[in-house]
């Protein structure tokens, strides 16, 4: 079996195992083992990838394999990874791993919960390894559907509404996407759905102008592109902890990943021509999300809006179309993935104790649960871009890269986006000041306990990952640079 197919096979096997499991303990053990295996596989993949590159293999995609799946329509199961996909797989493995531990005590129906969770990871991993447009789309759908049940059954608050809204909006996005994909396929006249094959032929610019916006918005909905972001606050607020983590941490990255891998890579001319519209929209996302987060009262809403702002920055940087900014975008995906996962994990743990997410009802938690408090502060500092943590390297790449753009329009937009670093500081410090510092608000909270082992594990793992990227960014930067080369060169060629 191909190396990459392991990433789909493990969750599928987990599904089978979970199906046969009888007790909660069994379900936990199977999930934890599977998630650890995924983590091991992801790390192994990273090393193998490095070794391969070291050995001088300069092919765009490594570990490729391909099989015909539906020959009449040239649909195949073709897989392959470049540096960016490897990083995304690593990220997903991290989040799935930590997510499993965060949902250690899920109630009710633990077995079913873990099954849907596994199905979600099938979709996520499948998406990142696929090179075939249709297979990619299929995995994308596989990743979206379980969301509906995970939120609808295990969520909290207005869960039915949120689940319905999230699913419908994302499905609406994928309808556009489907059109876009078909347009790309027929427009290119290629004889396969493989992205690399389609890239060999050019799609007429007139057609691109129709299908680029469709594809970009289709993926953009998942990437929280303004004004299609409103599923995010409701969805994240209602979802159970681990689902919020996976959703904000990985699923929203599917959007950004698709935007450059499909929309921008295959339709560079339209990207250059229409990019400015989306640039304005994403610029709005960045500032607007940050401002909206300033006045929210629910911890999860604050994070959801902050995700809108941060993911807006991802798309913003992608549209700047130069290596530095796009490197920043990828780093921001990783960084945002890890740090929102951390945020949501901590919020889940705090909520599990205080039974409220309203920041006005909490205070002085640092004294009561120092571990969670310190974790929250670190996540906050990463979010506001403290040097040494991942947010900083991502943002600086984005800002410096965007500012190298030759157009004054782009540079002015960059300066506007830079203001988000202050607004981010405002809302992060507001929350930290309100819930962690100050005197204890609610005397009943004094009896609460700090984190236990299965809660500490994900927090520590995520913090380590955030610090690793923040302290030594050049290793991932190198991978991303190599992976971006063909994309950027196509884009610059198209600009001429």
């Amino acid at each position: 079996m191909n190396l990459l197919s392991i990433f789909v096979a493990i969750p599928v096997l987990m599904l089978a195992g979970l199906f046969l499991s009888r007790t909660r303990q069994q379900a936990r053990i199977i999930s934890a083992t599977g998630a650890s295996l995924l983590m091991v596989a992801a790390v192994a993949l990273a090393f193998l990838f490095m070794a391969e590159r070291h050995a001088g293999n300069t092919a765009e995609m490594l570990f490729t394999a391909s099989a015909q799946w539906f020959p009449a329509w040239n649909i195949g199961y073709s897989v392959g990874v470049d540096g960016i996909s490897v990083l995304m797989i690593l990220l997903s493995a991290f989040i799935v791993f930590t997510g499993i531990f965060t949902s250690w005590n899920i109630d009710p129906l633990p077995k079913e919960y873990f099954m849907w969770f596994c199905l979600l990871s099938v979709g996520v991993f499948g998406f990142f390894i696929s090179l075939d447009l249709f297979t990619m789309f299929m995995f994308y759908e596989v990743a979206l559907i379980p969301m509906y049940l995970l939120i609808g059954v295990w969520g909290s608050g207005k869960k039915e509404y949120a689940a319905m809204k999230l699913t419908l909006m994302l499905m609406g996005g994928s309808a556009l996407l489907m059109l876009g994909i078909l347009g790309i396929y027929f427009g290119s006249g290629a004889t396969s759905m493989d992205i690399m094959d389609i890239a060999q032929s050019t799609i007429p610019t007139a057609l691109q102008k129709y299908f680029f916006p469709l594809t970009f918005i289709g993926f953009g909905v998942l990437g929280a592109l303004f004004p299609f972001h409103t599923w995010s606050p409701d969805g994240h607020a209602s979802a159970p902890t681990a689902v919020s983590m996976l959703h904000a941490g990985v699923l929203m990255k599917l959007g950004g990943y698709g935007c450059f891998r499909v929309a921008m890579f295959l339709m560079p001319e339209a990207a250059n021509e229409l990019g400015w519209i989306f640039l304005i929209l994403t610029g709005i996302s960045v500032v607007y999300g940050a401002f909206s987060a300033c006045v929210q009262k629910d911890l999860k809403y604050i994070n959801a809006y902050s995700s809108v702002s941060h993911c807006g920055l991802v798309l913003f940087a992608l549209l700047m179309m130069n290596t530095t900014a796009m490197t920043g975008a990828i780093m921001q995906m990783l960084s945002h993935g890890l740090m929102t996962a951390l945020f949501f994990a901590l919020i889940g743990m705090i909520y599990g104790r205080t039974h409220t997410r309203d920041i006005r009802e909490m205070g002085g938690l640092m004294k009561i649960m120092p571990f969670l408090g310190v974790g929250y502060v670190i996540a906050g500092l990463a979010s506001l871009g403290l040097p040494g943590l991942s947010g900083f390297v991502a943002e600086m790449n984005v800002f410096v890269g965007s500012f190298q753009h030759a157009d004054t329009f782009h540079r002015v937009l960059t300066l506007i986006a830079v203001t988000s670093i202050v607004i981010t500081a405002v809302y992060i410090l507001r929350v930290v000041g309100k819930i962690l510092y100050g005197p204890v608000q609610n005397p009943a909270h004094l009896k609460l306990t700090d984190a236990v082992w299965f809660e500490r594990l994900p927090v520590v793992v995520l913090i380590l990952a955030i610090a690793a990227i923040g302290l030594y960014p050049s290793w991932i930067a190198d991978w991303i640079h190599t992976a971006l080369e063909p994309i950027v060169s196509r884009l610059t060629l198209a600009a001429l």
Binding site: K165, L168, M169, P227, T230, P233, Y288, F291, S292, C294, V295, Q296, T323, T324, G364, M366, K367, L381, L384, G385, L386, P387, G388, F392, V393, M396, N397, F399, V400, G401, F403, Q404, R411, T414, L415, V418, T419, I421, V422, A425, V426, L429, R430, G433, L436, Y437, G438, P439, P473, S474, A477
Partner: protein, 642 residues
């Protein structure tokens, strides 16, 4: 001189070990570990200074060294963040200042923080701060400086909020961080702008007078009516103004006094707040050669700030606030000196006196760090005993606290500019430089110097003389580990003025021979003495009614000054009323109701639409059949006749 890396590593090690071990360590031992590491750092800094300054000059000019430089992150082929160590006169001088004051604060805190909860955390943060501050001063490029600039900001945030259960401390720390972050945003924009044209972050390239071609691409380019380079340097200065608490970004500094007093001594008096001065000094060639108008602007802003802060300091009653405003005012002095300075020319291995302002600024930075740290630590000793920051709770303390009294007096004399204490020499050079630039500015600065002497002695007399206040417990002198640093810093303050500072630091790197301008020196000393006399008259006995009458006479001005001219209220208004009420809340509302409303509206329309077609589903088999047949007939007709 690769060993200088250890100056950074040791405090970081302290931070990591104390931070990770946390409460597993006993509080005291955490303190000793932190202090020991810092002691090593200080020794290394002194050794570095000795080695650096005893190196041979090349053509009479001190050379900058870069013992370590490592590319940390590469943006483009020419833009990359390097992390390294740049040794030149000002960075070495700063290393000495930072490690000295930090060491003193570490020792002092062993006594001051004794018995506090979170001793480990405190020392961990001090280590983090020392690491970041050293990293800032040795930065080889502007982006490295930005990185450490942020790190000192966060350590300041953590230390101001050390007493995190106190709401005032929390909001003060938040305010400090956000205000400086706001300024940092402009700093970042400035960096982006500057690097876009010069294609480099490197200080060595930016500040080399021989290498001015890198600025060529910016020539003639304007943005909104200003030259792009002026924009860039002005934006960078806003960043500097935020850290150095220049008007109107000074509002965080007085509130930052909520932190533990030793922290105020270290961060908010001696080291971090002069980072802005350091940044301007670091980029001085850029400012001087390319944007002299911005440099002059800096001088005016700084002079105004100095005046403003001095006036406010005259009426504050919280002793730490007085010191905070005095710090703002003194930083104003340093920046004025930089702003009025020119680049000296080297002749025969000696620098001409055009570079006086630069030298004076750095000299004042050095002496001020010592005597202001001394003042804060002294104030800390007093607060430690009295358990209050208010002047009214003090008075007559000279008998109970003799050592604190003498050292405090030394510092007051130094800041007032009385010879032979160090402040006299540095301040005198600043005044001379200002008179050389514009005589009227010199007069203003002399007036501010007089105000300084007045408010410092107001403070001194109110604390140590005057009417003793009632206390429930007996007052006592601070323990040895607190008075030790006081005595040490007092000794430094006494002798520092006699250091031939110009031989070490000057605008070009050549030796500068300091000579006193007698006219300026005598005037300023006389004026300072008169101010002290007035303060003595007003406050020494504690019975004079003149201050109250004066307050009545200056009514509105007095009230305004007492409320710091309502700048905080203006900010409060802008942030709460405008940003929160008029931007954030409407945006959030807009999001929830308009954007989301549109989406929900689409859903609603779909529901309504399907209801509208629902009547067609009668449930009657026969009506369906009829429709099917009609449909079939219509299709048939179409296929037959069309």
């Amino acid at each position: 001189m690769e060993y200088t890396l250890w100056i950074l590593i040791l405090p970081l090690l302290g931070f990591l070990s104390l931070g990770l071990l946390g409460t597993r360590l006993k509080g005291k031992s955490a303190g000793y570990i932190g202090t020991a590491l810092l002691g090593l750092t200080a020794l290394l800094s002194y050794f570095t200074a000795w080695q650096y300054f005893s190196m041979d000059r090349v053509d009479g000019i001190r050379q900058a060294l870069t013992p370590v430089n490592w590319t940390w992150m590469r943006f483009t082929d020419f833009l990359h963040i390097d992390l390294g160590i740049l040794l030149d006169p000002i960075s070495v001088m700063m290393l000495v200042v930072i490690s000295t004051v930090s060491l003193m604060v570490h020792i002092y805190s062993l006594g001051y923080m004794d018995g506090e909860k979170g001793f480990q955390r405190y020392y961990a943060f001090l280590g983090l701060f020392t690491f970041s501050m050293c990293g800032l001063v040795v930065a080889t490029n502007i982006f490295q400086m930005y990185i450490f600039w942020e790190l000192v900001g966060v350590s300041s945030y953590l230390l101001i909020g050390f007493y995190y259960t106190k709401p005032e401390a929390v909001s003060a720390s938040k305010k400090a961080f956000i205000v400086t972050r706001f300024a940092d945003m402009f700093f970042l924009m400035g960096i982006l702008l500057l690097s876009y044209f010069t294609k480099t972050f490197d200080f060595g390239l930016l500040c080399d007078p021989a290498n001015q071609s890198i600025f060529a691409s910016a020539a003639g380019k304007t943005f909104l009516g200003g030259a792009v380079l002026s924009w860039a340097t002005a934006l960078i200065f806003i960043g500097a103004a935020g850290k150095s608490a220049m008007f109107p970004l000074h509002i965080w500094l007085p509130d930052a006094m909520e932190g533990p007093t030793p922290v105020s001594a270290l961060i908010h008096a001696a080291t971090m707040v002069v980072a802005g001065v350091y940044l301007v000094a670091r980029l001085f060639p850029v400012y001087f050669f390319f944007t002299p108008e911005v440099l002059h602007g800096i001088a005016y802003v700084a002079a105004f700030t100095a005046l403003y802060a001095a006036i406010v300091a005259c009426v504050q009653t919280d002793i730490k606030r007085v010191l905070a405003f005095s710090t703002i005012s003194q930083i104003g002095f340093m920046l004025v000196a930089l702003g009025v300075s020119s680049m000296g020319t080297v002749d025969n291995g000696l620098e001409s006196h055009e570079g006086l302002g630069y030298m004076a600024s750095m000299f004042h930075l050095f002496t001020h760090a010592m005597f202001k740290a001394l003042l804060f630590l002294g104030a800390g000793a007093i607060i430690h005993t009295v358990h209050s920051n208010e002047m009214s709770r003090m008075g007559g303390l000279r008998k109970q606290m003799p050592i604190t009294h003498i050292t405090f007096l030394v510092a007051c004399l130094a800041i007032a500019g009385i010879p032979p204490f160090s402040g006299f020499f540095s301040k005198d050079e600043i005044l001379t430089a200002t008179f050389m630039f514009k005589p009227w500015l010199g007069v203003v600065m002399t007036f501010i110097a007089a105000l300084t002497a007045f408010y410092m002695f107001r403070l001194y007399y109110n604390i140590f003389w005057g009417k003793p206040a009632q206390h429930e417990h007996p007052l006592h002198e601070a323990p040895k580990n607190m008075t030790g640093p006081l005595v040490f810093l007092a000794l430094v303050t006494v002798v520092a003025g006699f250091i031939p500072f110009g031989k070490f630091v000057s605008s070009t790197g050549a030796a500068y021979i300091i000579h006193l301008d007698m006219k300026v020196a005598i005037t300023s000393v006389v004026i300072a003495l008169i101010s002290i006399l007035i303060a003595w008259k007003f406050y020494c006995k504690g019975t004079s009614t003149v201050p109250a009458k004066m307050a009545g006479f200056f009514g509105p001005l007095y009230t305004a000054a007492k409320h710091r001219f309502y700048i905080d209220e203006v900010y409060q208004f802008i942030t709460h009323k405008i940003i929160f009420r008029c931007v954030s809340q409407p945006l959030a509302w807009f999001d929830r109701h308009i954007i989301d409303g549109i989406l929900n509206g689409i859903g609603w329309i779909t529901c309504r639409g399907s209801l509208a077609f629902r009547w067609m589903q009668t449930g009657q088999l026969q009506s369906y059949a009829l429709l099917i047949i009609l449909g079939a007939l219509i299709l048939l007709c179409i296929s037959l006749f069309c």
